[in-house]
């Protein structure tokens, strides 16, 4: 009765699905003993995955805002893979809060590929021994096939006249952001505000503190915040991933919201990696390698652009998708000393973010 479900943010259903997939269905005998042993076997079957018998399968464990991207990417990749003379693969994607997803993989979720919001989440999987510590050097661009940044989504016509970070701490402005303690995206929001304050001669800690005092609702994930802002009508500005902001425009109507690009923001590099420890055979490794490399192919990059990510190679992309992104000053995580330093310093237990809410 005091069980807290191990879910963070929007429920990710990957575990029940994984369990259901592995459930061995047995038809028991007619006797009680037969039924019982069948039940026992079925229970054991919950833990043991049957050996794959047909085409290769791949599970991509990802974070929330990549739902739409990977839905399309998986289809395009499967078709390309089959065209290369391979058997049609079964590709599944699981989405949820980045940290919760990382924990699921550490605790045994059978993902061959992870595509998460923060390098520090994948580092934790590496610490658990599922992939080598130098994973980030294995693929180009710090293993980030696409990047994004943080922008403002405001209500149509920008009634409060918000143009840059400095406006967000004004009296009476309500800012919507997820909780940096539970959301990878929200950590970028926080760091972007910090970087702006540094560049504009303000005390960053005080500035970020003031900004979070203007936050009336701290959702646990990026999607939850988008819902709070867009559907529930709370707040004047949503701090959002650039791709989430464009997606909100597309889904909810361009006549309702505007995107404001601040003068300074962060270069968010959501990284991808192959989970060595979960690769069962050479065939599966080939598939997983192909999958990750395809993210860097012109077609893969075009899809990233299409789904509002800033990618690297625009040779196959629709020029309209590329032209959408304005230039702005982007600060990378290196500026904060990398995630291994920034994470505990800002977001760890008793870190700077916690101090914002220390009672005075």
């Amino acid at each position: 009765m005091f069980v807290t479900p191990p879910l963070a943010g929007p429920p990710s259903a990957q575990e029940p699905i994984a369990a259901a997939r592995r459930l061995t269905v047995l038809t028991g005998g007619s006797s009680l003993r037969g039924t019982l042993s069948a039940l026992a076997l079925a229970l054991i079957g919950l833990g043991a995955a049957p050996a794959p018998v047909h085409a290769e399968t791949l599970l991509n464990v990802s974070y929330d805002p990549t739902r739409e991207l990977y839905r399309e990417f998986n289809e395009v990749f499967a078709k390309w893979w089959t065209d290369q003379g391979n058997e049609a693969p079964t590709i599944e994607a699981s989405h949820g809060g980045s940290g919760a997803q990382a924990r699921a993989v550490i605790d045994g979720l059978d993902a061959q590929v992870v595509t998460l919001a923060l390098a520090s989440d994948i580092d934790k999987i590496a610490e658990a021994g599922k992939l080598p510590a130098d994973w980030q050097s294995k693929l180009p661009h710090n293993s980030s096939p696409y990047t994004s940044t943080i922008v403002f989504l405001v209500r149509e016509g920008n009634p409060k006249g918000l143009t840059d970070w400095g406006d967000l701490v004004n009296e009476g402005v309500e800012v919507i952001t997820p909780n940096p303690k539970t959301s990878g995206g929200a950590r970028w929001n926080y760091l972007a505000a910090w970087a702006w304050a540094e560049k504009n001669g303000q005390d960053p800690q005080e500035f970020v503190g003031k900004l979070f005092k203007n936050v009336p609702v701290l959702d646990s994930g990026a999607r939850g915040s988008t819902t709070t802002f867009a559907q529930r009508g709370i707040g004047d500005v949503l701090l959002a991933w650039e791709n989430e902001a464009y997606l909100a425009l597309k889904e909810l109507g361009e006549d309702q919201f505007d995107i404001i690009v601040p003068s300074v923001s962060v270069l968010a590099e959501p990284p991808v990696a192959l989970v060595e420890g979960n690769i069962k055979n050479d065939e599966q490794r080939k598939l997983a390698d192909g999958y990750l490399n395809f993210l860097y192919s012109p077609e893969g990059q075009a899809l990233a652009y299409k789904h509002f990510y800033r990618a690297w190679d625009d040779s196959a992309a629709n020029p309209e998708d590329v032209a959408r992104f304005p230039k702005l000053e982007l600060v990378g995580i290196d500026h904060f000393g990398g995630w291994s330093k920034a994470q505990p310093e800002h977001f760890g237990d008793g870190g700077i973010f916690d101090q914002i809410y220390v009672p005075k």
């Binding site: 009765m1 005091f2 069980v3 479900p5 929007p10 919760a100 934790k124 303690k181 916690d354």
Partner: protein, 278 residues
């Protein structure tokens, strides 16, 4: 020959059913709680205290238990009324209403939370009415209170209903013939009979509310020191891969809950003795 101390039951299958019961109980209830306590033991009582003894954590624990208590109290009153109405009166749609009482059990809590938030947000149908008179419901403690009522309501009505069915009308009629007023009959005859079951329902409703996460998280607002529930703190610690701190908060909740349930049980024993039910 078996030992004369063990009397063979005339009903067969005690050994088997007892074995299954104990195994299921261990697998599903005792093992997870045991694992929690074991992890806590490795962390150490001193560390647990140090983790929990912080203003923000006390604030969240106090909020969770206080609102759960009030929600359970609300459910106690209205759950008993609901049970009474469903059993004693015949009206069109009674069966549908009766079935609807169980819906909070069946609905995924996240769905319930999102639905409640949509209703009580300032632009929702109820939320906008409240906003018109200057009240805020969603993203305040009121929102948490409503979500906790929702998840706990069936416990009281479902435990009280069978007892209401058992009460014989003759008892009330006898009370009336002896000159008692309706209120007097209710207070001295009916309520004492319902009380043990109602208290059980109250305890269940309270226990459920304390650990509730899914439905509350969407409506709570989750602002530290104001609308942050204790289960969210556990999730936050897990998000930092800090299993020890998460365990510490979990154990704190377990101990507080255990103490509360113990008190409720004692009250139950006392009330049963007082009115002569065993």
């Amino acid at each position: 020959m078996r030992s004369p101390l063990i009397h063979r039951s005339p009903m067969p299958g005690l050994g088997l059913s007892m074995g299954i019961t104990l195994m299921m109980l261990s697998l599903v209830v005792l093992l997870p709680i045991g694992a929690l306590l074991l992890k806590g033991a490795a962390f150490g009582a001193g560390n647990i205290w140090e983790t929990v003894n912080r203003e923000r954590i006390w604030a969240a624990l106090f909020l969770s238990f206080r609102l759960s208590f009030f929600a359970a109290l609300f459910n106690l009153v209205f759950g008993v009324m609901l049970a009474w109405v469903l059993v004693r009166y015949r009206f069109p749609g009674r069966r549908i209403l009766d079935a609807a009482v169980d819906l909070p059990f069946a609905l995924p809590t996240a769905v319930a939370g999102i639905a409640l938030t949509a209703l009580y947000a300032p632009n929702g149908p109820f939320g906008s009415l409240a906003a018109a008179v200057g009240w805020k419901i969603a993203y305040t403690q009121w929102g948490i209170f409503i979500a906790l009522i929702f998840v706990g309501l069936p416990f009281v009505s479902r435990t009280v209903q069978p007892v209401v069915e058992e009460i014989e009308r003759e008892v009330e009629e006898a009370s009336a013939t002896l000159g008692a007023s309706r209120f007097h009959t209710l207070r001295r005859v009916i309520l004492p009979m319902l009380m043990p079951a109602a208290l059980t329902g109250f305890a269940l409703s309270l226990a459920r509310a304390v650990g509730e996460y899914g439905s509350v998280i969407f409506i709570a607002g989750n602002i530290p020191l104001k609308t942050e529930i204790a289960p969210l703190l556990i999730v936050i610690q897990l998000e930092e891969f800090n299993y020890d701190a998460a365990t510490a908060i979990g154990i704190a909740m377990l101990l507080i809950s255990f103490a509360i349930l113990l008190v409720i049980n004692l009250i139950q024993v006392w009330s049963r003795r007082r009115i002569g039910y065993v």
